[in-house]
């Protein structure tokens, strides 16, 4: 029987199996006092990160590098990964573009031509747009966290982990199920296209599908110093749900909601700094605040739900070395790294083209929260984004905890037309 790429995947690699191997390898190395397993014969494969490590966007870059270094160190300690007939150590090569398009181009070329990386991980937006012509021409496998970067011409650009902001639909769907009395919502977001408007369109669609009327949407610039008048204006419409479609100003906005006595439900795309929010408001006020990104010590990240090796161990290792620097990208880039290993093992090669082919040939690619599906042609012209389940997180007694996993893919299968309508209403690019 001919082995399909999918069957090869299943035989050779699963992240849980990989975890077992890793821990066994580490244990063997520790107990026998031997040097790292197989190091003498191992080759090295470099994977690149062209990300912001300084400037305003650094929280969406640097923690990801730290996360990848932890995962790579664990893999290497266990003897590396077997790809084809060779064993490889993983090495991360990074370049700080500071969210500057010029530096992004320089960084991308440095990583590809000088560091000989086999994949480049990026955040997304204009820094991806500036490298696209060259990257596609050189057929370099590139990843983004913003699937809206995908166009019909970006064959080598994939979004295999975060599909910002599609996952937001799960939070609204869950809220509507749990709190059917919520009938109206107000949305606040930044006025940029990459993050703010994409997210607003997604929330608009999710609320429409959930039967919740959006009574007002505020698009504000990045230079707002005082959110009091904006929040007052939105609260004057008496929404049952207050929705923050992007996270940049989560803390000052929730502070305003607290001071202005908001009693309804709060939904946010992310809330990485929720401990700060609690410190500035109260534990009682943020109780039930719903968002989309779990802490990795969450007990609900069980092996049957989360395809990520030892999430709690990863969380502990990260916070030991980089306390206070956690953000969602801390686990997202490592997750992409694991996607790459999976595809490289299936391809039996580390070269970008066969790895991409293996990735795309897998109709049920691994995703952080369970198997996913390739999607995106309906919206951006190419099925190069992986969507699957995504957790709905809420704050319970001062701690972010996963409430439930819901399927982004199922929602999109049923409601892609609604999403497209709202994207077009905000002049966002769709096919």
């Amino acid at each position: 029987m001919t082995k399909t790429p999918t069957s090869v995947f299943r035989q050779r690699f699963s992240r849980r199996r990989f975890l077992g191997t890793t821990l066994a390898g580490m244990g063997a190395a520790l107990t026998t006092g031997l040097p790292k397993v197989g190091l003498a014969d191992a080759k090295t494969v470099r994977l690149g990160m062209n990300i912001p490590m300084t400037g305003d966007y650094a929280p969406w870059g640097l923690p990801g590098l730290y996360g990848c270094e932890i995962v790579a160190a664990n893999i290497n300690a266990a003897g590396g990964v077997k790809i084809g007939n060779d064993t490889y150590m993983i090495e991360m090569a990074s370049y700080d573009h500071g969210y500057d398009t010029e530096k992004s181009v320089q960084g991308f070329k440095k990583l590809v031509l000088e560091d000989d990386v086999k994949m480049v991980m990026m955040l997304g937006g204009s820094t991806v747009a500036s490298i696209i012509p060259w990257a596609m021409r050189k057929k370099m496998l590139t990843t983004t966290l913003l699937p809206s970067d995908i166009t019909p011409d970006t064959e080598y650009l994939v979004a295999t982990c975060e599909s910002h902001p599609l996952y937001n639909v799960t939070g609204v769907e869950w809220l509507a199920d749990k709190f059917p009395e919520a009938k109206t919502a107000a949305i606040i977001t930044t006025n940029d296209i990459e993050y703010g408007k994409q997210s607003a369109a997604t929330y608009n669609a999710a609320f429409e599908v959930a039967g919740i009327d959006v009574v007002d949407v505020n698009f504000h610039g990045f230079d707002v110093a005082d959110f009091a008048p904006i929040v007052s204006s939105l609260l004057s419409k008496k929404p049952d749900v207050f929705c923050m479609a992007t996270d940049v100003y989560t803390t000052p906005i929730i502070e305003q909601l607290f001071h202005q006595g908001f009693k309804g439900k709060i939904v946010s795309c992310t809330c990485d700094g929720y401990l700060d929010v609690i410190a500035k408001t109260s534990k009682e006020f943020v109780e039930g605040l719903t968002f989309q990104f779990p802490d990795f010590d969450d007990p609900a990240l069980t092996p049957d739900k989360a395809d990520f090796p030892d999430p709690a161990g990863f969380d502990a290792a990260f916070n030991k070395d980089h306390a206070g620097e956690w953000s969602a990208v801390a686990w997202e880039y490592p997750s992409i790294l694991l996607n790459w290993i999976e595809a490289a093992q299936a391809a039996g090669s580390i070269e970008p083209e066969p790895v991409l082919s293996a990735m795309k040939a897998n109709s049920s690619p691994a995703h952080t929260f369970g198997p996913g599906k390739w999607w995106g042609a309906d919206l951006w012209g190419l099925d190069n984004a992986v969507v699957g389940n995504w957790p709905v997180v809420a704050i319970n007694d001062g701690k972010a905890r996963i409430q439930e996993y819901r399927s982004v893919y199922d929602w999109l299968q049923n409601n892609a037309g609604v999403l497209k309508k709202h994207m077009q209403a905000l002049d966002l690019r769709t096919v």
């Binding site: 990074s94 937006g125 204009s126």
Partner: protein, 317 residues
């Protein structure tokens, strides 16, 4: 030709020859680096022309954006040849500068600085607000590269030579302007404005002229940049970028033609050299900047003179 002039010509020729040879000996990403650096040289030198009148503005980088957007829209949406859209970018930036000069030059000095910032931000935010035709915050992507025979201008070395040729031509023109009667009048408007006006010099007209000329050249610089990058966004022309231009000019010195060039080159290379320090790189850059301002208040342009002076003193002793 005097000996001094001959030295200058020989020095410039040697520098140009070195620049022609240089890219083949650089790492790949440094080839990109010198493309952007060469474009930035045109940005700072054109800015200095503006400062000759004594007016410092915060709109210069936005005028670069006007050129960049013009060339991007003409070449991508209207199919205009890039070879034509680049000079038209300069014309467009100059025309916008001419229009803006009416409100802006009702102010001088600090008020002009603030006014130029406000107008610049208004233009930049218009690029964010109007998704059509400017593409909003994500700007315009897949902007075409120039085409000429079989030359591949997406590769850095051919594009560097194009940029080098255009920037060299622009610098020659700017140098000629500064050393012409117009340039002398610009100096007069700065240092002896009442005296110049008393002999019939229209200071407003010359300030406007300097603003328009500076904008034309920085518009060309913007066009050169976007046809290599392939995209243009409002983010590229924010006040943060303008602050870098000011730093380059101030640290380099603005009393000579080459001062800002030195500033742009030295500081950009330092920034690149400290890349290995990752997150603490801005702090190192800041410390160096403070040290440069403290110990070289007249800018990097004073360093050759300082060396010359020491050499002559030693020879005399």
């Amino acid at each position: 030709m005097g000996a001094n002039k001959l030295t200058h010509v020989a020095g410039t020729a040697a520098l140009l020859i070195a620049l022609v040879i240089l890219p083949g000996h650089l790492k790949y990403h440094h080839q990109d680096f010198i493309i952007f650096l060469t474009i930035n040289v045109l940005v700072v030198v054109s800015y200095r022309l503006m400062t000759l009148t004594g007016e410092w503005s915060l709109i210069h980088i936005v005028m670069m954006g006007v050129g960049a957007y013009t060339s991007a829209l003409l070449s991508k949406n209207l199919g205009v040849s890039v070879w034509l859209s680049i000079p038209l970018a300069g014309v467009s930036a100059g025309a916008v500068a001419a229009l803006l000069s009416f409100p802006l030059f009702r102010m001088t000095q600090f008020y002009f600085l603030i006014g130029s910032f406000a107008v610049g931000e208004a233009i930049r935010l218009a690029w964010v607000y109007f998704v059509y035709p400017f593409g909003g915050s994500s700007g315009i992507n897949t902007i075409p590269s120039p085409e000429l025979f079989t030359i591949d201008f997406m590769e850095p070395i051919p594009y560097f030579y194009l940029v080098l040729a255009v920037v060299t031509l622009c610098l020659l023109i700017l140098h000629r302007i500064e050393n012409s009667r117009i340039g002398l009048t610009l100096h007069a408007v700065h240092w002896k404005s009442p005296l110049a006006e008393s002999v019939g010099v229209n200071a407003w007209k010359y300030r406007t002229l300097a603003f328009i000329i500076a904008s034309i050249f920085v518009g060309v610089a913007g066009a050169l940049k976007v046809h290599y990058l392939g995209n243009v966004t409002p983010h590229q022309f924010g006040v943060g970028t303008m602050v870098f231009v000011l730093i380059w000019v101030i640290v380099g010195g603005y009393n000579t033609f080459y001062g800002p060039i030195l500033g742009a080159i030295v500081l950009s290379i330092l920034d690149e050299a400290f890349r290995a320090f990752e997150a603490i790189r801005p702090a190192i850059y800041g410390v160096l900047l403070i040290a440069a301002i403290m110990f070289m208040p007249r800018g990097l342009e004073s360093v050759p003179g300082w060396f010359r002076e020491r050499l002559f003193r030693k020879t005399a002793e």
